[in-house]
């Protein structure tokens, strides 16, 4: 590793971890509790190509007890180094991951991720999906956390709807872009819209 990557690896963590992670978690919790809403989440400066939102989620939620899968489009030595240095999280295969990071296409197929068991539905993967933005809603959401309905742009509404069919099993999604995060838990009912 040259000096340049070394710096990238060590830099970009939370400036004041207890406070920054408390803020980032509040954003993540609001997102998960209110599917379809977009929350601001900042604090981390991950290596090039990864959004501050995704970086902040990783720093807030990952540690040596959580395996992280990096999809091929985001996997790099610098990201591995950064993640290891700041969280100690082991990099694992998709099938064993607690968290998975990447673009939608690179993360697929969805069915390789853990969906929990009937007795322990929590033993499932949370996907952190990097997206271009949150405009262009193509799905109507309803269910826990949603007053009537909410609109959201999803990379593949049909795939997300099939995931919801597995309820209470299934994966949960965070969508990240820039310093914004939205979430889609498995409990949300999805109707594709034209």
């Amino acid at each position: 590793m040259n000096q340049m990557t070394d710096n990238t690896v060590y830099a970009g963590g939370f400036a004041n971890p207890p406070v920054a992670s408390a803020h980032a978690f509040r954003a993540a919790m609001n997102a998960m509790a209110r599917p379809g809403t977009v929350q601001k989440i900042t604090g981390a400066t991950p290596p090039e190509g990864i959004s501050p939102a995704a970086g902040s989620l990783l720093l807030t939620l990952c540690d040596p007890e959580t395996g992280v899968f990096l999809a091929p489009d985001v996997d790099s030595d610098s990201l591995r180094g950064w993640l290891t240095f700041h969280t100690g999280a082991p990099i694992v295969a998709a099938e064993e991951a607690e968290f998975a990071l990447g673009g939608w296409e690179a993360l697929m197929p969805l069915d390789r991720f853990r969906i929990g068991t009937a007795e322990y539905p929590d033993r499932s993967t949370t996907l952190i999906v990097e997206v271009a933005g949150f405009d262009a809603a193509n799905a109507s959401l309803s269910g826990p956390g949603i007053k009537d309905t909410a609109q959201m742009g999803l990379p593949d509404p049909m795939a997300c709807a099939s995931n919801a069919m597995l309820y209470p099993l299934g994966v949960d999604f965070f969508f990240t872009s820039g310093s914004q995060v939205a979430a889609l838990p498995r409990s949300t009912q999805i109707r594709a819209e034209a």
């Binding site: 509040r26 919790m29 509790a33 209470p168």
Partner: protein, 286 residues
């Protein structure tokens, strides 16, 4: 401030709790196991709620703690002090001003908003525990949605007493899937659980966290011919004349005379300040 980390818990512990909270929100009513830590207060005194609050609070939050609806009960005072000392957060007794409210046994009377988080202390998170003491069994029952036993129990009440003889910790079904213990709130509070705020439940000793996201369907279990009834003492508050609040009964003298007062002390105070006067109250000082 202190030798301890912000909000007492170390960051790794908070991460573990935060992950459990997110799973709880994703599967409303399902009890997520978490490696509850030993807290500097006894198990059974709110260690679950305290851990959830510690993992949730930010320095900008305004924190309120109630026990039995009141801010000044000793354990509420003790928990509030703990977070003043370890997190340096602002505290309040006013429900409207609080962003995070930790509670034991009550839901505030004032309707909670989207900007609020309600954290419940839970002693026994498993609603089926009194029917089946074994975790290995109850876990299966939840997995298979096998809730017949609960209905049988409630129905036995009806055949024996003519009514469902459960008056607090009255079981609910969340989002048509999991039967959940609402913590030992009086059943009067059950209908409030469909609210705009996020509800988080922490059971420290039993190592479980669960959650109800805003606007989630929460139905108290009942029967068509014996519908659920949110009951309370049939009196107005003797201090503020409220007809719609849950009441504590206070024994006044050796002759056994009683009065009924709001269990939610902040609700009662704000009503009295607004000029409402009950049977034994007196006009607020002008």
């Amino acid at each position: 401030m202190s030798d301890y980390n912000f909000a007492y818990l170390d960051e790794q512990t908070k991460r573990m709790i935060r992950r459990a909270i997110l799973k709880g929100l994703a599967v409303p009513g399902y009890q997520v196991p978490f490696a509850s830590r030993e807290m500097p207060m006894p198990y059974g005194w709110g260690t679950g709620g305290v851990q959830v609050s510690a993992a949730t609070l930010t320095p900008e939050d305004t924190f309120k703690v109630i026990d039995q609806g009141a801010d000044d009960t000793t354990n509420a005072v003790s928990i509030r002090k703990f977070f003043e000392r370890t997190a340096g957060v602002a505290t309040t007794e006013e429900t409207e001003k609080a962003s995070v409210i930790q509670t034991r046994h009550r839901i505030p009377e004032a309707e909670l908003t989207e900007d609020q988080i309600l954290v419940y202390q839970v002693p026994i998170p498993e609603p089926l525990r009194f029917l089946e003491p074994r975790e290995t069994e109850t876990r299966k029952m939840h997995a298979l949605q096998e809730y017949g036993l609960m209905h049988v129990k409630l129905y036995e009440d009806i055949s024996q007493h003519g009514a469902i003889a459960t008056s607090y910790a009255y079981p609910v079904k969340v989002s048509d899937r999991y039967v959940m213990d609402p913590s030992p709130i009086p059943k009067f509070d059950n209908p409030k659980m469909e609210m705009a705020a996020i509800q988080l439940f922490g059971a420290g000793r039993e190592q479980r966290i669960y959650a109800v996201p805003p606007y989630t369907k929460v139905v108290s279990l009942d029967f068509e011919d014996y519908p659920f009834e949110a009951s309370k003492a049939d009196h107005p508050c003797d201090l503020c004349a409220a007809e719609d609040s849950y009441l504590d009964e206070v024994i006044l003298d050796d002759a056994g005379n009683r009065m009924f007062v709001c269990s939610d002390t902040d609700y009662c105070r704000s009503r009295r300040e607004a000029g409402h006067v009950g049977r034994l109250g007196e006009e607020a000082a002008a």
